[in-house]
Symmetry: C2
Subunit: 224 residues, 2 copies
């Protein structure tokens, strides 16, 4: 583990005073459930959100809150963080006992928590700027939120989501989701590997239909 830690330190360009912290950050609960990254991940998640949000707030002094929220989502969502872990070759440094390799986003958050505890705000900000904020990316629009807001405004009701079908093995599911607004005929549909993603696609699909048939007017058009 010591050689691994040294190598990782040179990848992230941060040397830990307390090596126990980085060891914890690299330990999946399947390896040692009592001594894993879980608490550090809780901390890192909050610190990451705050650092990213504060930096975007400063970088876009004229942007609306909704733009900042969507752009922050793009930088802190689990897929983007997992890919940051891949580009750091994190899989070479982690410890786990699962039958398949665990997602890397939780380790990223664990490392952020560990660097914050060991080195403080300034050091963790350098790390986040280097590995998370270094790329210009597109905001992620939260279509479920947009649909909910518009539905309450135009139809005085919340949209309702249904799981139409759920197929595949436990760890490789395909969700088929439908969304409707009570008393309205249009239906949005979405299919994806997680319930949340399928719902997001269904919401986007319903928004598209409602706009097309001019049932709603959108302040920020969908294709903006």
């Amino acid at each position: 583990m010591q050689t691994k830690i040294k190598k990782l330190e040179s990848v992230i360009r941060y040397r830990f005073k307390n090596k126990e912290l980085i060891e914890l950050a690299l330990t999946h609960p399947s390896y040692e459930s009592e001594r894993s990254y879980e608490r550090l991940e809780f901390l890192g998640d909050l610190v990451l959100d705050a650092v990213v949000g504060i930096n975007l707030f400063m970088e876009y002094p004229d942007a609306e809150e909704s733009f900042l929220t969507d752009l922050k989502s793009a930088y802190v969502n689990s897929k983007y963080l997992h890919n940051a872990g891949v580009s750091m070759k994190l899989e070479k440094f982690i410890r786990y006992r699962n039958y398949e390799a665990p997602r890397l986003d939780n380790f990223i958050e664990g490392i952020i928590g560990a660097v914050y505890l060991d080195g403080g705000w300034k050091k963790v900000e350098v790390l986040i700027k280097k590995f998370i904020l270094h790329k210009k990316i597109e905001p992620i629009r939260n279509y479920k939120n947009i649909l909910s807001t518009l539905s309450k405004k135009h139809f005085q009701t919340e949209p309702a989501y249904d799981i139409v079908s759920e197929k595949g093995l436990p760890h490789k599911k395909i969700y088929n989701v439908r969304v409707k607004i009570q008393g309205r005929k249009y239906v949005g549909r979405g299919t994806a590997g997680t319930k949340k993603d399928a719902e997001m696609l269904a919401a986007e699909n319903l928004l598209f239909k409602l706009e097309k048939y001019r049932k709603i007017k959108h302040e920020r058009p969908l294709n903006s």
Copy 2:
């Protein structure tokens, strides 16, 4: 407004260098949509989460991540923040043009954002400790998350929520929600003023039934 700002400064025991910031924090979008608390609220929300989370992390060195998450929820949820606003008599200082008084939680987050920008981390931490973290409160258990985790573990599927009925005027709705796990006979039911609260109650109700009929075993019993 200047007298109001002076009075509020003495309530929160913080004097702003830049008075424009606190003026923004006290302005509801209904009063002036282009110059309201919205950006500050985005910032304050993140800063509040991080300050509360970091303080709980330090205060409970042996607590599990799930306990920290639930306790943080209790300190940053909108009801608790609204009540903090009530105890600060915030309604005397805010500007709005709605037909009824707006919720105070967004103003609290706006003020936190404003103090952070004006005075930095240390000052905002003092404010949060004084008005948010000063009380010992109970963690809020997220029953939807608990049900989702247990359902995936025991039944390899996500629970499905349905809105059974939705009654009342647009701003005073009563939601009646049902939750089921595909292929299982027990149904959880919940009724509340928001969809989320009704779902949470339905999840708690279904968890109670599943435990009672020994369909699941809980690591942390519901009545702990």
